[in-house]
């Protein structure tokens, strides 16, 4: 990690800088024992310190953008549903949220009104996500390999990847790559689900079109360690408009 020895430190940190560093350490999970305990307590009691910690979380989260999304196996989702007792209800049975009418639900306005407003806003935003823009064409690519078929569908800014036939090889993962053109560097879209399907938002900067190629490479478990394909290309196909 650090080959060079740390440079000699200059002047000690000022009290304000000490507090800032402590907030960063708490956000990073670098504190232990009594120090961690004291910092957590301070976070609850000292709103200014709590705001510093949150600002660090906000700044640092930018680093997670460097990580290539990795699709989780279907078993993770099933495990969550089982733990929460959600079961495999058909969508029609899922309780719908009703907008309610005016103040009938809980007095006039107040937090209930705010809540219902928030729900209505949520419903509108979701409708925007779920309805692909009419003007945006959809695309599909079918990637056939020995004993397996993977289909990728692009609707608006979403891509759905499904294992249509067959099963991934035991002990290996398949990684899906987006290649924007003949000279373009492949961009990882994460791992192909071992069974079932997975939908994710297209990373920013990727524009669907008929010059885009999708490819699947054979990778160790967890996907390419380098961020570029390391194993054999098992299949590739251009996007075609649906």
């Amino acid at each position: 990690m650090t080959d060079t020895p740390p440079p000699p430190s200059d002047a000690p940190l000022t009290p304000d800088e000490e507090t800032e560093a402590l907030a960063a350490e708490l956000a990073l999970g670098l504190l232990a024992g009594d120090e961690a305990e004291a910092a957590r307590k301070r976070m609850v009691e000292d709103t200014e310190f709590a705001a510093m910690v949150r600002l660090w979380q906000e700044r640092l989260a930018g680093m997670a953008n460097e990580l290539t999304p990795v699709m989780a196996p279907t078993s993770a989702r099933l495990g969550i549903q089982r733990s929460l007792g959600h079961g495999n209800q058909p969508l029609a049975d899922v309780p719908q949220i009703h907008r309610g009418r005016g103040g009938s639900a809980g007095g006039s306005g107040g937090w209930m009104g705010w809540l219902l407003g928030a729900v209505a806003a949520g419903a509108v935003a979701l409708a925007v996500i779920l309805l692909p823009g009419q003007d945006q064409p959809g695309y599909v690519a079918q990637l056939a390999m020995e004993g397996m078929m993977v289909e990728a569908q692009v609707e608006g800014r979403e891509i759905r990847v499904a294992m249509m036939e067959g099963e991934a090889h035991e002990g290996r993962d398949m990684e899906l790559w987006w290649i924007a053109g003949p000279e373009a560097t492949p961009v990882s879209l994460g791992l192909v689900p071992r069974d079932g399907s997975m939908t994710m938002a297209l990373p920013e900067g990727l524009e669907p079109g008929t010059d885009v190629q999708l490819a699947i490479s054979d990778e160790p478990l967890g996907g390419s360690p380098t961020g570029q394909p390391t194993g054999d290309i098992m299949a590739h196909s251009t996007l075609t408009q649906t």
Binding site: M1, E58, R59, V70, S75, A76, I80, H86, I97
Partner: protein, 184 residues
């Protein structure tokens, strides 16, 4: 993050807070690949990362109601939960006590950030890459190892071949510099 995506995820979390399972499914589809990557980056082992990812979404379901009050942007809140759970798990696997700020960081109420504060935060996120570059290579590498791989001071000290206290004051100084740089 695009403003629209931010608003979509925020709206989904608000609906999850009301027990809306459909919104929870949609939130899972939109964010699980990223959160899985966070868990995997820290834990380096798929079955473990999958287990922690499940804990993360169970927590999101149970705690979504606290989100609106904590003032974090939606992806930061989700990433922070994933990272904290993964780090606690990493420490537990190594027989160390938990180090993440736990509940506190996810739940302490704050005033909702006003538009100005939101602009400042966005700006700081944008500056982060530049500032990490300016920070000095070794410090930036150490910070990445801490944030993305859950390295502890003891591990940093070992790989640098220096005493823990030396490494600690060196990194603390780097963090203060980073803060000054992003807030310019």
């Amino acid at each position: 993050m695009l403003e629209r995506r931010r608003a979509e995820i925020e709206a989904l979390i608000a609906r999850v807070a009301l027990g809306d399972r459909q919104a929870f499914d949609a939130l899972y589809e939109a964010t699980s690949a990223k959160l899985h990557a966070v868990c995997l980056s820290i834990l380096k082992e798929r079955p473990l990362a999958e287990e922690v990812l499940q804990e993360v979404y169970i927590r999101i379901w149970n705690n979504a109601g606290r989100y609106a009050a904590n003032g974090l942007s939606p992806m930061t809140w989700l990433i922070t939960i994933a990272r904290n759970r993964a780090i606690d798990r990493l420490r537990a696997e190594n027989g160390q006590p938990p180090a993440a700020p736990a509940e506190a960081a996810e739940a302490v109420a704050s005033a909702t950030p006003g538009p100005e504060e939101q602009v400042i935060r966005k700006e700081q996120r944008r500056m982060l890459d530049n500032c990490l570059d300016e920070m000095g290579e070794a410090q930036a590498l150490a910070l990445r190892a801490v944030y993305l791989e859950g390295a502890s001071y003891a591990e940093l000290a070992q790989s640098a071949g220096a005493p823990i206290n030396t490494v600690r004051s060196w990194l603390r100084r780097g963090l203060v510099q980073l803060k000054d740089c992003v807030s310019q």
